[in-house]
Structures are given as structure tokens and as C-alpha cells.
Symmetry: C3
Subunit: 363 residues, 3 copies
Amino acid sequence: MKKSLIALATLGAFAGAASAQSSVTLYGLVDLSVQHVKSGEDSPFAGAKTTRLSDGTAYGPGSRWGLRVSEDLGSGLKANVVLESGFGADDGRSQQSSRLFGRQAFVSLASTTLGEVRLGRQYTLHDETLSVGNPFGNTTVLNPGTYFNIGGASLANPTGAASVPLFIDNVRVDNAVQYISPSFAGFRVQGMVAAGEGTADRYQGLKGVYANGPLNVALSYEFGKRFTDDENVNKLLTLSANYDFGVVKVFAGAQRLKDPSFSAGNTLGLGSIGGATDIDKLTSYTVGASVPFGAVTVGANYSRAKYDIIGGGDETIGKFGVVGQYSLSKLTTVYAGYAQATGDAKNDVNEKRVFQVGLRKAF
Amino acid sequence: MKKSLIALATLGAFAGAASAQSSVTLYGLVDLSVQHVKSGEDSPFAGAKTTRLSDGTAYGPGSRWGLRVSEDLGSGLKANVVLESGFGADDGRSQQSSRLFGRQAFVSLASTTLGEVRLGRQYTLHDETLSVGNPFGNTTVLNPGTYFNIGGASLANPTGAASVPLFIDNVRVDNAVQYISPSFAGFRVQGMVAAGEGTADRYQGLKGVYANGPLNVALSYEFGKRFTDDENVNKLLTLSANYDFGVVKVFAGAQRLKDPSFSAGNTLGLGSIGGATDIDKLTSYTVGASVPFGAVTVGANYSRAKYDIIGGGDETIGKFGVVGQYSLSKLTTVYAGYAQATGDAKNDVNEKRVFQVGLRKAF
Amino acid sequence: MKKSLIALATLGAFAGAASAQSSVTLYGLVDLSVQHVKSGEDSPFAGAKTTRLSDGTAYGPGSRWGLRVSEDLGSGLKANVVLESGFGADDGRSQQSSRLFGRQAFVSLASTTLGEVRLGRQYTLHDETLSVGNPFGNTTVLNPGTYFNIGGASLANPTGAASVPLFIDNVRVDNAVQYISPSFAGFRVQGMVAAGEGTADRYQGLKGVYANGPLNVALSYEFGKRFTDDENVNKLLTLSANYDFGVVKVFAGAQRLKDPSFSAGNTLGLGSIGGATDIDKLTSYTVGASVPFGAVTVGANYSRAKYDIIGGGDETIGKFGVVGQYSLSKLTTVYAGYAQATGDAKNDVNEKRVFQVGLRKAF
């Protein structure tokens, strides 16, 4: 969704000297959808329905504007900056807990032979991995990384709700240093560490990507070093793939969380799973497909999570969804989708059934 | 004030394909005025005076920067985005309750034959209507939509004050879907609905505009569907007009509020009127004129509101003002103005007399 | 650091007329450094160490993006706007207490013969003066205007800590009106007043600058008119100079604070000095030098403050630091530095020893 645009070529204007040049790209995307939500019969909203105009956290790619800066330093070396600001076009507010550049903010040095080092606020490795495994990436009601909720201020406003994840997706992390290798025959590795700075667990992760022709595979492993006791917790393994047969593109993904820690400052940003913290393990999978018909693309997927409860037993939540997108141009899309909860907890969640129809414009 | 500027022509930069194009316009305005305020003798500040450097809420057009995006989709169809960020240049803070794009944030599809549909945070219909009825639009001490206040943190900072409106002007609304018809012989209609999402009243409104040659007329009717009991409340009828005779431009406006609701989430954003909620009806009018002398324009107006009190009786508040503007260019203006409260409540309000001298630069 | 860049030439697009033109420059800088901090043995963190990724308040120039607007009005007159937004690239949050344009926000009229008048949020005169007196301006661990701290949420997060200034540096002020004279033979004067608006002391200051060939000198005097009792307090005298011998550039500065006031709304933004308010006088000095070796510049300085305690006695804090910078281009720099506290309070502060290695990219 973060399509690069133009670009004022910029000239360093120093006193009497102007040899350095950076390109600056101003880009963005605005996406809003009208959503109709029906809550589960056993949820706090007892089957109530609501209509909302929604952006961002609920099934959207998240509206944003940003600056992408690049400077060629010669010898295959570049200096880059990405500043990406997330906001809700429904109310004009900054997203990501009121951050200005809450989506991404980093500076990097990138060498064609040695790879790239990035400093700043960045996507987590599992979030990048997840986008490979579902149609339309991490957007629309198909996104298995958008959590179900139980309770909250209102059916349209899940603030304060207990979140019920299908796939764990703590999208970004602060204070991160990342290394990205060059690509060899479609294969590259990434490693990232984020300082806990004495108030959060230290994030540590590795990722491998293979992208060659019709096949895309991504695998990540991450964990947190808990700042209170130096224990390794929240061990998260995520695998995703897609294959483009031309007439159909198929998607699959799986995730496993072990040794979950719900204490403050954990690397997953989770206070509980559906209100419970007696979870031993989370195992999720998703399968999906998309089919292009000219300017129209239809996609569908099914995702399911199982929470193993400490002391025995388990609980499941799932989602089936279908979405159609119509491209008015490379940059403008209208779409409609429907998703329905499945599994043990399907009647407990706010979002038992969701219908959305939306408009998306990139620039 | 939101003059369109330039514009980087942007190119969609997708993998191998680059046919789509959007134009992106970066624009803005900064306006600051030194204001000297004398409080009413019976106000909590008992006739005290203060000097402040002021932006935004107090008689300014409100400093802003924004992005205007447009893409021609062919066949008379366009996709548009407007993102407009309001801030106070006196302290650098975001306005509109700390929103990033608090002034406007919407995406739209616009057809030359079928009209336009806009999704997002937008101006209310009565705010647009009001700007037709007073010299210099909704800016300077002449703006009848800037509320008087009683109390607050300090004379210069009315936070927490009881507001005393002359004309009701709740400038913007979240979660709105608007339809704007094409213009036929200078006439167009607009309809807007904003979802209350279970925590606010649903906003509903209609507006008609006639703009042809020297005559401009706007008429809007809006009301809220109260979310707690589905009652129709805050029925607001607003009419404004101006006529340009060349040597003088005359302005007039009137507004009537019936069935006011001051409960949380109301569509007018009002907690009371001057501390009271036993109001039955509000009736306001304004008359004004402006006269150009080359680069100088002088404008004056008189506005008056009457609050009918439940059980009988009424209270009035009014304002007389005069402003002179000198245009250094199409984009840069210096101005000075004076306004004085009139009516029953004139000695109760913070802003009994206001003098302002300011500088405004658009880009 | 605020290097001017490009610039879309903008055209005022009014109904039928488009003669006015403004140039708009989009610029910015992102700087992040990995810092290793060792606390003093007698500080609340008792000699503990931490590693953090840091931006802004701690030894950085502060990441920013901004807009610089200029319009030529003819006859040597220009209208200008500067909007500069500070953020932390480590977490994407707005800096300067969550302001959008917290670094600078002003509109000005500037005449080549009469000087410039600026309205808005601006740098204080002593902050500008300080940057003349230390290598690399007010950046890196050498900056004597970055306060030591005692306590706070964590060693990496001094929020809520008692600040221990070396040089007083309250960087910016709201609601300011500034006059800047034209430059005569390298000499200019500046005068600034900032309205307290009934909730803060009124800021008043004067500054003289001499910049000619290898010599730069700046001298400022400021004080606050306390809003509660109209007393003149916080009298701050600051003097800085540098001289460029070519092979070496030498720096020196001194500052004296008399009649300190720590009450709310004071012009220095100080609640105490290291937790104490029984301070009579603060006297500081700094000396430093930088030496260029091609693309590398090495700088070092020593700074020291003495707080005179009411009733007799004094306390000292100092800092010695050394920094090396390597310029990959005019716009991109990598650097490393080390600083160590000295003086009576050296074991009491959070930042007894700091090592930093960072990357900075301007655009």
C-alpha cells in the first residue's frame, strides 16, 4: 500500500557549496470503509449491531502520509530516511497511540554489497511475515492480524476491550536496530534488536525471506528478554507463503506462540488473551486464495487459532472472509467484504459478523 | 483562505507499471494577531484586561497546512483526498483537540455528472453556510461564529469556560458521509450523515447553495438523532447571503436552534449556553458590509442572538465590529479590528472589548 | 542542521488571478544514536548502566521535518513562514510536549532596510547564543545545554527527574514577538517579548551578534516579569564566541543567572535545580576546540557550573567530552562521542558517563 510517488529532487543548500543531493518523496494513502458490525450473542453487547465509518485499526490498511528520503553517497552506498505518519481519516486523529510518525520512523545506511542498517521505529518481523500469507496483505476484513475484541467503550469503539487475537500481530517496535542482508538469488535475512530501556522487554528477532518468480516465503522467529527477570518469553514463530499460478494466487500461514508473558512492557503488547492470562500456547493457521478478473480481484480466506490453557483444555476462534476489490486505477480502489467468526469463542466477540464497503486512494 | 498552490505531479511507481497519476498540492496559511481583551465588569475577571498572541480559535482563520490530492480517472470521474492540519502558530500545538488533520480529512469520488461522495471528517453544513453571511468569511473579530466565554483558566485562555454563542458554529464532524450534487445554473444541494457510533448523536443535514454572479445564498437544516433515546434534537436552520454591488458588498444571515440538547455526544458540541441548559430556542441574525479601496478592504457587521428561556423570559448578546485589511499581495495580508459586546450579557462575558492587529500569510 | 532544500515554486491559485508566488521548502533531519549511560554511584540508580536508542532531548540535534515559505513582496520586503516539527525517530512521537510544530512556528515580515518582525513560537535568545560557544553547536554529548538528571522513570527515561543544568537552556518560547535588525558590518541586534497571557511570566530579552570572517560573538540578556507579582526574575546573561584559525576552531562561553524563580510559569521552565530551590546564583563557563582532518572533525570541550546556595556554600557540576564526526556527504554524518561528569555532583547524576555512536541524515 505504500506506493512510492514523486519527488522533488532536493539540493543541499549550504553556504557556497551544494554538491550533496537527496530525493524526497511525499506519499500517502487514505482508506475509509463503512462497516456494519454484529456482536456475538454472548458478548457484552449481546448481539447488538452498529454502523461505523472506520479507518486504520479495524480492517483497514491505515491511512497515512509520509516522506521517503534517499541520498546516493557513491560506491553503492545510500543514506535513507522513512517517516510515515498514521492517522484516522474518520476523525483526523493520529493513530499508533497519538504518535506523529507512528507507522515508521528510521534512518539507514544501505550498501548494495554489505546490506542495510536501520535505526528507529520499525515493523516487527512477524508483521512483515504475516503480510505474505493473506490476500490483499494485512488489509480488509481478511486480515488475520486484526484482533477480535470483547467489550470496550462501545461496539464501534473497542478501546479498553479485551483483545482476542487470531494471529499475533504487534505491528511495530520502538528503539530498534535492524540489519537487512543483500538479496542473493531471491534470499535475504534480517535481524532486529529493540532496546527495552529499562521499562520494556528487549525485542530480538530473525527473519528469512525467499522471493523468486511466483513463490514468496517468509519465516520469522522472535522473543522478548523480560526486563524484570531476564527470562526469555513470548517466543513467536511465524511462517507464511504465497504462490501465484496466474489464474489464482494461493496463500498460507502458520504461527506458534510459546511461553507467553502478559506483564507490562512485553514485546507483544498484550495484557491478556480475551481477558485470560492462563494461556500456555497459541497455534494459528490461515489458508486463502485470490482470483483476478480484469480490474476486479476476489479473495477469500479462512483462519483459525487455538489457545492451550494451562492445566489442560483449549479454546478456539476462527474467521472466514471474502472480499472483492475493483481498481479504478493503479492508485484508487473500491472494495466490499464480509467476515464471520467461527470456533468456540465466536459468540463471545464483538465482531461476530462484519460487512465493509470502502474507498482507498493512494498517492 | 485555503488557496490552492502547487503541486508536484506524482507518478504511481509500481513494479514495472506507472500509468496512474495524482497531483499533490501542498498548501497552508499562518495567521497570528496580537489581541487586547477587556473583560466584562460582571464576568469572573471583573473588567480585567490582557494582551495575548493568538491563533485559531479566537477570531483567526486558524493556521493550517495541508495536502490536496486529485487523480483523473477518466470519463469525468476523479478521486480526491484532502488532509488539512490545524495548529496554533503561537505555541506550535495541534488544534481541534490535538487532532493531526483536525480541519479536514476525507477521500472522495467526484463525477461531473453524478456529483461527489466524500467519506471522513468534514465541515458541518451550517459552518459552510455561515461563511457566506459575514465579511472576511469566518475570520477576524467580525466572525459571529466565535463564541463569547464566561470564566476559564485565564482571560487569555478560555479552556473550561462556559461558552456563549452568537451563532452556533460546531465547525466539523467526524465519521461523515456527504453527497454534493453537480452545480446546475449556480444551484447545488448537499446532504450529510455522520455516524454516532454508539457514543454520539447521529448528525443529519441538508444544504442548498445558489451562487451566480454577484449573488450568493446558502441555506442549511441539520439535526441530531440522540443516541440515548433516538429523539430528534438540536434542529438548526441557518440562512446566509451576500450581494456584491462592486463599490460595496452586503452580507446578512440568520439562524434558529430549536429543541436544544446539551447532553454528551450532542451534534453541536455544547455543554450549556453561558452555563445554563434551560434554553428553549436560540434566534440569531447578522448584517454587515465591506468596501474595497484598492488594496484595502474595510468591513463591519452587527450580530445579535436571543436565547428563549424555558418557563419564559429571554437573554440577549450581540457584537458590533469593524476590521480593515491591507493586502501586501494575493497571499499576504495585515489587518486590524475592533469588536464590542452588546446586549443583556455584554458585561458577563470575557470578551467585552477586543482589539486585534495581525499578519496572515497563505501559501 | 536545518539545511534548506528544494522547493516547489508555488503559485497562488485565486479565482482568475495568479500573480503572487511563494517558494515552499520541505526540509528535515533525522538523527539517532545508540547511547550507553552509566549512572553516578550516589544517584537513585546507584551506578547502574543502560543502553538506549536515543533522539532529541538527549544529546541529539533533535529529528525534525519542516516547511520554509518565502514570498517576495517587492521593494526589499518579504513575507516568511517557518513551521518546524520535532519528533523522536526512536518512537515516532512528537517532541516538545507533544506539539506538532514544537521546534518553530512563526510568520514574519522582513525588510532589507528595516529588519524583520516575527510572530509565534521561537528560539530563546540564550539558546541561539549558546550554539556559538560549543563545537558542533547544541548537539552531541558536548552540548552544555543538555541537562544532567537525578532520578526519573528509568535511567533511559528521565521523565519526572530533577534536572541539573550546566548551562541554562530553555530552548523555545510561545507567544513571542521578535524584532531582528538588519546586519551592519556583521553586527545585528534582536529584541524579543513573549506574552505570559496571565498564566506565565512575561519573557523579555535583548541580543547582539557580531559575525565577521573567522570571528563570531553573541551576547544576550533576558529576564522574566513574574505574572503573580510583577517582579523581575530569572535574569540571565549569556556570552559565547568562536574563532576559526583554520587548523583549529576555538570556542568559549559563559552564563550567569541571578534572582532565580522556580515558580510555575517561569521563563526558564525550571522547577528546581537538582531538587533544590535555595539557589541564589548560577555561574557557568565552557571552553572547547574542534580540528578538521578532511571529512573527519574532532571536537572536545569542558564545561562547569557553580550554584551558589542561599545562606552560603556552593555546589559544582561539570562535564568533559570528546566527539568525532565523519561526513559521508554534506547531508549525512556518522559520529561517536564520550562525556564524563565532573565536579561535586558528579556521582549524584544519572549521566555520569555517556558513550554515543550515531547516524544523522539531513534533507
